[in-house]
């Protein structure tokens, strides 16, 4: 149970509530009994199907009933139907899940059933347009997933579902459209790490496929994230994304040493304005250590010593600026002295 305030009822109020619930409880129990009995005797009729609808409207988390509903469809209703009729039934089932998702956006069973329905869509409407029905659904699915993300931009069910839809559509949407989508989400709230995460996945995929100029788009990302840092230097989404952009060991672009030095001095500028910024300090330590690890050989002894002692100094400040994670900074300065 999440976000349900504790309310203390008097004994009388509690008894009254029990009384009110009694009718609902009785209905739920007899309906459950009836549906489970039909399931037991493998009743795959339309009547059984309608009863599952009623029960799932009361309790959409009742996974056994969703399972039974699918059995009724597969072994009963679909068997006697034309492709057009099957398509109509699935269309109704998708509507049912849309309604339920609006009330219960985080119930796994509903999302699962939705995905199952889509996989069942038959070929059609005609032999020459076999993907017609499917493509129409998939376009709508994207809309549904994005609507859900308007209601709750962090709903990971909706993000997962959206990724699934994008990957499965018979006619794919260009991935670059996803960059515009995630940018919109980030611009409306830079704390939306789900959007930053998705952006990292899309960019990786585009770069790997050679569909995007990596060097240039990286620079655009650095601009985006730098703006976000200045907007709210305490927002950790931004710093985590920045760390991905610099990419510890993942990919080395062009002048890696120059890039690290540039990012360190850009964060240093922000730290000069915000001298207590934990995230600035933490990131500078991380990137300076990265510089030492990757380019230690090309640095002189003086330079290495200087970087190490700067890290030590920052780790010392971090212990007082961020006392909750004090021990981490102690461990970092103890274990990670890079020669």
């Amino acid at each position: 149970m999440h976000n349900v305030k504790r309310v203390r009822y008097s004994a009388e109020a509690l008894a009254a509530q029990r009384q009110r619930e009694k009718a609902r409880l009785k209905e739920f129990q007899s309906l459950t009994g009836e549906v489970l009995a039909r399931k037991q005797r493998k009743d795959h009729s339309r009547e059984a199907f309608d009863l599952t609808t009623r029960l799932l409207q009361i309790n959409p988390e009742f996974y056994t009933i969703w399972n039974y509903r699918r059995l009724v469809l597969l072994n009963g209703i679909f068997v006697e139907s034309t492709p057009t009729q099957i398509n109509d039934v699935l269309s109704d089932d998708l509507s049912l899940t849309t309604t339920l998702l609006k009330q219960h956006p985080k119930v796994y069973c509903i999302w699962t059933h939705r995905q199952w329905c889509l996989a069942q869509v038959p070929d059609g409407p005609t032999a020459s347009d076999r993907n017609g029905w499917r493509q129409a659904y998939w376009n709508k699915e994207l809309f549904v997933a994005e609507k859900m993300l308007e209601a709750d931009p962090r709903n990971f069910h909706a993000w997962t579902y959206r990724r699934y839809v994008l990957a499965q559509m018979p006619v794919k949407r260009p991935e670059t459209a996803d960059l515009a989508f995630t940018k919109r989400k980030i611009e409306s709230n830079i704390s939306n790490f789900s959007a930053w995460h998705q952006r990292s996945k899309t960019l990786t995929s585009l770069w790997d496929a050679g569909k995007l100029d990596k060097a240039r788009s990286l620079e655009e990302e650095f601009d985006l994230v730098r703006n976000a840092m200045y907007t709210d230097p305490n927002d950790q989404s931004v710093w985590i994304y920045h760390r991905w952009l610099v990419g510890p060991g993942e990919f080395v672009i062009g002048d890696d040493k120059g890039l690290l030095e540039r990012e360190v001095s850009s964060i240093q500028e922000l730290l000069d304005i915000q001298p207590d910024s934990k995230w600035c300090m933490e990131s500078i330590v991380f990137y300076k250590k990265l510089l030492l690890r990757r380019h230690g050989d090309s640095l002189g002894d003086d330079e290495r010593g200087k970087l190490n002692s700067e890290c030590e100094e920052l780790l010392g400040s971090l212990q007082s600026v961020d006392p909750d994670r004090h021990q981490r900074y102690v461990d970092l300065s103890r274990n990670h002295h890079i020669v």
Binding site: R6, F62, Y63, T64, F156, W159, Q198, R325
Partner: protein, 325 residues
């Protein structure tokens, strides 16, 4: 100073859960009953009150949920078998020393049949996939002594593909890191002795940053605190030997402040309605934090450490030392 852990009250709360049969909510949560029994029993064991619930009655309930068609356990009599309720059933029977009641080869077959070509596991024959189900399979096979039947490379391969640049793991390939998915992936890797797959410094950082100024832990960046993350985050930190990277005192106080001082039980956050799910994960968190008077919890299996030790399954995790009152 905040409140202490009111063990007698929480024991009473857990006992009362089976007595609310006139409540609509009791019936509306029937699909979670097996899990709820596992949560309640584990909490009682950690609070050293194993006998507060009747052993025979509990074992009879578990066995009444056997789904003979599928070869697994459902959450409730007449409910379909699912991998999640099957693990809870096995965990209960292990804690009650009654595993001899189970047709082990059939359950093993059921679990293994749910592995997909990608390496992940489905929850049941309907194919919903999630790294949670992968962990459940690994945990259950390990408890049943049948881990050797698992295709380890295939399984680890899937976890690897769910690893994100922040060191965390998501529910599926491509999904955002989330503390509960981090727990399941790290714990599965621990059971499979494959923790080298984890970028421990990066993940340790991400986990430590789950703590908010009020002491509570969240499950993802820029989200609210919730008592259940005390377990998801702490268990992973404990497996990586990094519990000292957060402020234990503040987290302890946060969990204790979410107790219901009248009816017992722990809620997601202070002032909310308690439930058995947050009660076990609050108690589990306190155990890892070394709270006095509790038994050790094994963070890999979320069961009493003594039970896991007796099976010879203990891994190299560390919790904070148990404090004396």
């Amino acid at each position: 100073m905040g409140p202490a852990l009111d063990i007698p009250l929480h024991v009473k709360y857990i006992q009362s859960l089976g007595e609310n049969k006139d409540d609509l909510v009791y019936h509306l949560t029937a699909h979670l009953r097996m899990n709820a029994v596992y949560w309640g029993l584990t909490a009682l064991l950690i609070m050293k009150h194993k006998d507060a619930l009747d052993r025979d009655e509990m074992i009879d309930f578990v066995m009444s949920c056997w789904d003979d068609e599928a070869g697994g356990f459902g959450a409730h009599p007449d409910h379909d078998a699912h991998i999640h309720s099957t693990l809870s059933a096995i965990q209960i029977l292990v804690m009650q020393n009654a595993l001899d009641r189970v047709d082990v080869p059939r359950v093993v077959k059921f679990i293994l049949s749910l592995q997909q070509d990608s390496g992940v596991f489905a929850g049941d024959q309907w194919g919903e996939i999630d790294t949670r189900f992968l962990y459940i399979a690994v945990n259950a096979l390990s408890l049943l002594g049948h881990l050797h039947e698992l295709d380890v490379e295939k399984t680890v391969g899937y976890i690897r593909r769910c690893r994100n640049f922040d060191g965390g793991f998501g529910a599926r390939e491509g999904a955002e890191s989330h503390a509960s998915q981090v727990f399941v992936c790290v714990a599965a890797l621990a059971i499979l002795d494959r923790l080298e797959e984890v970028d421990q410094d990066m993940l340790g950082w991400w986990l430590a940053e789950r703590q908010l100024p009020n002491g509570g832990l969240n499950g993802r960046p820029e989200k609210l605190e919730d008592v259940c993350y005390s377990f998801w985050v702490l268990s992973a930190m404990s497996i990586l030997n990094k519990v000292p990277w957060i402020n234990a005192e503040k987290l302890t106080a946060f969990i204790l402040s979410a107790q219901d001082p009248e009816q017992g039980g722990i809620a997601d956050r202070p002032g909310d309605q308690p439930d058995v799910f947050h009660t076990i994960f609050g108690v589990a968190g306190l155990s890892i934090l070394g709270y006095p008077g509790l038994d050790d919890l094994d963070p890999v299996y979320c069961m009493p450490a003594s039970v896991i030790e007796s099976l010879g399954l203990r891994k190299g995790w560390t919790a904070l030392p148990r404090r004396q009152v």
